[in-house]
Amino acid sequence: MMVMKMLMMRITLLCLALPCLANTCTTARDPARISVAGGSLTEILYRLGAEKQIVAVDSTSNYPPEASKLPSIGYIRNISAEGILSLYPTLILGEDDIGPPAVLAQVHAMGIDIEILTEEHSAQGIIDKIRCIGSIIGESGKANELIKQFMLPRIDELNILTKKGRLANKKILFILSLQAGSPIVGGTGTSAGGLIRMTGSSNAMADVAGWKATSTEAIISAAPDFIVISRRGLNTFGELDEMRLHPALRFTPAAKAGNIVVMDGMQMLGFGPRTLDAAVTLSRRFSSTKP
């Protein structure tokens, strides 16, 4: 109910900002040439077999690997009006951080359809995204098939792994990267927080809102059982052993027990279908150790 209300509010706001670019999830006038901004949307289009309709992707669309061979419209928050129009798209599909708004308004004024999908960091959010894209490109059947074949089995597995809240006492610390000596951690309201919720465990940094640099003391007192980090994030520490012995982390239970999980960042935080795989893998890992 709450979620629905927030969704409606966001849609209303979007409507006010631009001549209504809200996500209506209705079939587009012409989905023949799609320009995509958002890695999860690109993944879903590929899984729906609509990859031939994609004319351009943004820099976060790195999965499947062949998607990065398509023309790039650059970073999702910094698209160029002329650049995107030069590919003659008939439809622009974007995650909700697509921007800047002024450029979107320009492109929309040229008569190009823009559909912005709201982001919801949960398994249901991914299912909604698939459904929505399915109806926009007129492939609802394939979308339902994808949900049945890919999503539901993984959700079932997650439900079994997290049954009766058995992972709820596991405290997970998600680190984005190391910046100027302090780790940037994912707090409440971040995609990392959503991923941790999906795994049935609890966020060690629930007191923090957003992505924040944290002090060594805060990390030690949070006492995480597991540390999750992306491959790119690990590179900011160096090798896994260097991370384990990093002054900010070495006194945590996770670092002492060597419970550091490294995974592809876009897979974990992109909230496309493959994020479910990430959640299942993490849940399995969290339940493999004794409490």
């Binding site: 706001l13 979007l14 006010l16 900002a17 631009l18 351009a56 820099s59 023309p71 790039s72 419209i73 650059g74 970073y75 928050r77 910094n78 698209i79 160029s80 009006a81 002329e82 650049g83 995107i84 129009l85 030069s86 590919l87 951080d97 921007g99 800047p100 708004p101 002024a102 450029v103 308004a105 320009q106 004024a109 040229m110 008569g111 309201g189 971040t190 957003g210 992505w211």
Partner: protein, 345 residues
């Protein structure tokens, strides 16, 4: 007295070299503007537009996206270049820059407030594209007001104080931006970062026309100060004895520059080094007289800014680079060279 007046009249005339330079700069600016109108990631034939054979989409892209963008970059370049030249003259300091009086920092603070706090209250969405430039220009106006109040007590030797007040205002605004940066969400932070790198993308006629009027008025107010700025180079006391009202000159230049820079920055974001570097380039080519330097800096600024934006939007098409990145990438090595040159002297 008559001797001075006679000499003044002689100095005021531009030399043949300077006239030639001004004409070539104008030709350069017009040529680069035409080239910029003709090129971009969207393939448009200028000839087809002129003949009316272009498709509706081509016409729209040309008139609604490309032309406003070229105009804006030209005017912003002119305003930064001319303001830089006038401020360097006023402060008698070759390292003065429009950013120095704190106006761009004020504009940045206004923009940061909208980018970070706007989305929390929903106001950022309601007013859409208008709110950000409005906030930026209010920030700039606030700084202008602050400068006026804080410096009104100083006599004609007050230029140094004004400079120091500018530095202090800059620091104050940075604190505000720092706090906003800290509380910003991931996407707000990215928005902020991109704003501070500058871009001419997303400009519409409705935003462009008021800004162009403000910039034009401010630039026209600065050009007649050229002669007084020349005399000011002798020193403030000397200029004052030669009949220059240094106090009035100071207000005229600073407030005109503040309006020009505020209006520019509100639409383009922060664009570094143009105001600093352009006047030096123009001085190297044709000399230091402000009658030549002020219009020359405006034209060179316009031409180079249009060129920088052309690079920004075509080099990695269909994506684009922030234009401030390009001007700073060219400007900072030049700045270093300036410093080393000064050390030798």
């Amino acid at each position: 007295m008559r001797v001075i007046a006679h000499k003044a009249a002689k100095v005021k005339n531009l030399s043949a070299n300077q006239t030639l330079t001004l004409i070539s700069l104008l030709v350069f600016a017009v040529a680069i503007a035409t080239l910029a109108c003709a090129s971009g990631s969207f393939d448009i034939s200028l000839w087809a537009i002129v003949q009316g054979q272009a498709s509706a989409l081509e016409n729209n892209v040309f008139m609604q996206i490309r032309v406003p963008r070229v105009l804006l970059s030209g005017f912003v370049g002119a305003s930064l270049g001319l303001s830089g030249a006038a401020l360097q003259g006023l402060f008698r300091n070759p390292l003065a820059d429009p950013g120095l009086i704190g106006v761009s920092a004020g504009a940045a603070l206004g923009a940061a407030i909208v980018i970070v706090l706007g989305s929390r209250f929903g106001v950022g969405a309601t007013l859409g594209a208008f709110l950000l430039p409005m906030a930026a220009i209010s920030g700039a106006a606030l700084v202008i007001l602050l400068l006026y109040i804080l410096t009104s007590g100083f006599g004609y030797q007050g230029v140094t104080y004004m400079l120091l007040v500018g530095i202090a205002v800059n620091a104050l605004a940075s604190v505000g931006i720092g706090i906003l940066t800290y509380i910003s969400s991931d996407s707000e932070l990215r928005g902020l970062t991109f704003w501070t790198m500058g871009s001419f993308g997303g400009v519409t006629w409705a935003l462009l026309v008021p800004a162009l009027l403000l910039i034009t008025a401010a630039l026209l107010a600065m050009v007649p100060a050229a002669r007084a700025l020349d005399l000011l180079q002798l020193g403030e006391i000397e200029a004052s004895r030669l009949g220059i009202d240094v106090g009035r000159l100071r207000y005229r230049v600073i407030f005109a520059a503040a309006v020009a820079v505020g209006a520019s920055v509100s639409l383009s974001g922060m664009i570094g080094f143009v105001g600093l570097v352009i006047p030096h380039l123009v001085r190297i080519v044709g000399g230091v007289h402000h009658c030549y330097l002020l219009p020359g800096s405006a034209m060179a600024g316009a031409g180079l800014m249009i060129a920088a934006d052309l690079i920004a939007r075509t080099v990695i098409q269909p994506a684009e680079l922030p234009v401030g990145l390009i001007t700073s990438a060219i400007g900072s090595p030049f700045f270093l060279w300036l410093i080393f040159r000064m050390k030798k002297l």
